[in-house]
């Protein structure tokens, strides 16, 4: 099997298949590290995590220890987390605030811009000692509306070019509040013993929602005395966003803190949620505001970032640690100035579905690990992703997954990439926006 043949993409036959060796082989994983994780823009963190000068956060991205900080001048800085002297980690706590970054090993000190400002017994170094050369090193980094990315290649284009159509979808999150959006304290950190691409697929897979997450829908229906919503009949679509990014955008079938009322939120919250919607319509116009308020979006930014704007807004990033394991971290976002009952409602809404203790996420973890074990069974060489290939892509079709895999194929096989939008919206096209049906206890089956 040639590397270039791992994705079988035949629109003429309505067939799209992925060879399962891509999910299990260490050789493929090594290629992914070089050709995907060393070349793509990768999510690092959010600027709201470091509001003040001296704030820092450490994180591992593609197996590399990094940390990001706000320097004394209030600028974002990102560093490789290693002392230029002999290698020890500079930043050894997950987050904090510092005037100076000091390596504990030989006590070399760096200011918040990474410049070497001191070390013990400096006389031991000769006149040619170059402090600048021994300062902290930065990878390429950039931020889009607060979302910070790094790139370990100089040859990749700019972040905004890389994001392509995904930038507009980040806007739909970032613009939800004039105060800006922030990451809420507390994160979900867990390991899934499955190939990382399974979580990319799962995060934009509308088809699995009803069978896998039946207990969630039953719970919501029981909670408010209604029926399981007509998830398979809701209006929505999948689309490719360029460079392997993909999204499914659907009528919301659960409440959205911004801003779609659901009986679960309680009658008393109705006027406030309506007010948020009215304000956003005044600020952004009907179409954009209705998308923000009444549509849910599950997006993958290639290769390993998920922004799900569903019953809550979550950032989910997964770091592969081998062909059959990944470390997942997920956060929740809220308007920077949200507090009190609105924030409480949002936090509660997240927990109904999301997170390791939620009513749905554990079953995704189970599904992915189950697939990984299934791959080892043999007998079946290919996985199928052809759903909706023959029609205008609906929200629970698989166009958005195919766009991920096409990009994956061109990168791992080092082939030129050709954007394909199938029968979906192309880059820059705007979807027709109709109000979503009101959510009520009498939602039909």
């Amino acid at each position: 099997m040639e590397i270039s043949e791992l994705v079988y993409d035949r629109p003429d036959l309505g067939k799209f298949r992925v060879h399962r060796s891509s999910m299990v082989m260490p050789e493929i994983y090594d290629l992914e590290k070089q050709r995907i994780f060393d070349t793509c823009w990768l999510y690092l963190g959010h600027e709201s995590e470091i509001p003040n000068a001296g704030d820092y956060v450490r994180r591992v991205v593609a197996e590399r220890a990094l940390f990001f900080a706000r320097n004394r001048d209030g600028e974002l800085v990102v560093f490789h987390n290693t002392c230029p002297h002999r290698g020890a980690l500079i930043c050894r706590t997950d987050h904090g605030n510092a005037q100076v970054f000091q390596c504990f090993y030989h006590a070399w000190s760096f200011n918040t811009s990474g410049e070497l400002i001191g070390m013990p017994d400096i006389d031991g170094y000769g006149p040619d000692f170059d402090r600048a050369e021994m300062s902290l090193r930065s990878p390429r980094f950039d931020s889009y509306k607060g979302f910070i990315f790094v790139c370990f290649s100089d040859e990749t284009g700019s972040l905004v070019d890389y994001l392509a159509g995904a930038a507009e979808y980040l806007d739909l999150v970032a613009d939800q509040s004039p105060a800006g959006m922030k990451v809420i304290p507390g994160s979900n950190r867990y390991t899934i013993k499955a190939n990382w691409k399974l979580l990319a697929e799962n995060s934009i897979d509308g088809y699995h929602a009803l069978p896998t997450h039946q207990t969630y829908f039953d719970y919501m229906a029981n909670e408010v005395g209604g029926n399981v919503p007509a998830i398979n009949n809701r209006h929505g679509f999948g689309r490719a966003l360029g460079n392997g990014h993909g999204v499914m955008e659907n009528d919301a079938i659960y409440g959205r803190p911004i801003a779609m009322w659901h009986p679960y939120f309680g009658e008393e919250s109705r006027p406030e949620i309506q007010r948020i919607k009215d304000d956003l319509i005044a600020l952004h116009g009907q179409d954009k505001a209705l998308r923000m308020c009444e549509k849910s979006r599950n997006m993958v930014i290639f290769p390993n970032l998920v922004i799900n704007d569903i019953m809550a807004v979550t950032i989910r990033v997964f770091q592969p640690t081998g062909p059959d394991s990944m470390d997942v971290t997920a956060w929740e976002m809220a308007p920077a100035d949200e507090a009190g009952s609105m924030l409480r409602r949002r936090l509660d809404s997240f927990l109904t579905f999301l997170g390791p203790g939620g009513f749905a996420t554990p079953d995704d973890t189970e599904a992915l690990e189950s697939c990984q074990q299934g791959f080892r069974s043999g007998g079946v060489e290919w996985s199928d992703l052809s759903r909706g290939f023959h029609r205008d892509p609906r929200g629970n079709d698989e166009l958005q997954m195919r766009s991920f895999w096409r990009r994956w194929q061109s990168l791992v096989a080092d082939l030129p990439h050709v954007e394909r939008y199938e029968r979906g919206l192309a880059l820059g096209e705007t979807p027709e926006v109709l109000p979503s049906p009101e959510l009520s206890v009498a939602a039909d089956n």
Binding site: D94, I184, P185, G186, S187, N188, R189, Y190, T191, I192, K193, T212, Q214, T215, D218, Y219, N222, E223, D327, W331, E332, A339, L343, R344, L347, D348, F350, L351, G355, P356, G357, F359, T361, P362, D363, T365, E366, A367, E369, S370
Partner: protein, 179 residues
């Protein structure tokens, strides 16, 4: 010269050993052991009867053990209704992470009654829950902070905050059991 000894904060001092506090200690231990036993036996309906109807069950995230469900992301923030819903889910065949159910064994130790006021008691305990399923065998380790209330002569739990010592759910992938 006198040595000054700072008073030990009441939260960790336990109570003086009186006949009453020994009985309370025994009662609290027995209730926590019973809870562990019912959960290990997957006798979830019976488990819920140990709680008052205004109960709250909270599990903070591993990176923010002091997390407050009103302002921070936590793993679990259940009122009595959602505890009941969690049971319905776990008893169905569709909680896939727990179908079939894992085998668990809970070890409760270091039980300390830290406060008594009116009909309420506060206590802390160390806990390790070993969970075995699908080749996985690693413990959830942490601490319980509980509040108990005597209702019609019977001691019940009205609050449980189960704080994980784990840095992340690295071996577990989820918190699919009641911790």
């Amino acid at each position: 010269m006198t040595t000054q000894t700072a008073p030990i904060p009441p939260a960790v001092s336990g109570l003086p050993a009186t006949a009453e506090s020994l009985l309370v200690q025994h009662e609290v231990e027995q209730l926590l052991y019973l809870e562990a036993r019912l959960l290990d036996d997957w006798n979830l309906d019976e488990w819920l009867t140990l709680y008052t109807e205004d109960a709250r069950y909270v599990v903070p995230t591993t990176d923010l053990p002091e997390g407050d469900p009103a302002s921070d992301l936590v793993f679990i923030d259940d009122d009595y209704n959602r505890m009941a819903a969690r049971i319905i889910r776990l008893k169905s065949r569709h909680a896939h992470r727990e179908y079939p159910w894992s085998r668990t064994r809970r070890f409760i130790s270091n039980v300390m009654v830290t406060a008594m006021a009116g009909n309420e008691i506060e206590a802390t305990a160390s806990v390790a829950v070993w969970r075995f399923r699908a080749g996985e065998s690693s413990p959830y380790v942490g601490r319980y902070d509980v509040r108990l209330r005597r209702v019609d002569g019977t001691l019940r739990l009205c609050y449980k905050r189960a704080i994980l010592d784990l840095e992340e759910l690295s071996d577990h992938g989820a918190l699919s059991i009641i911790f």
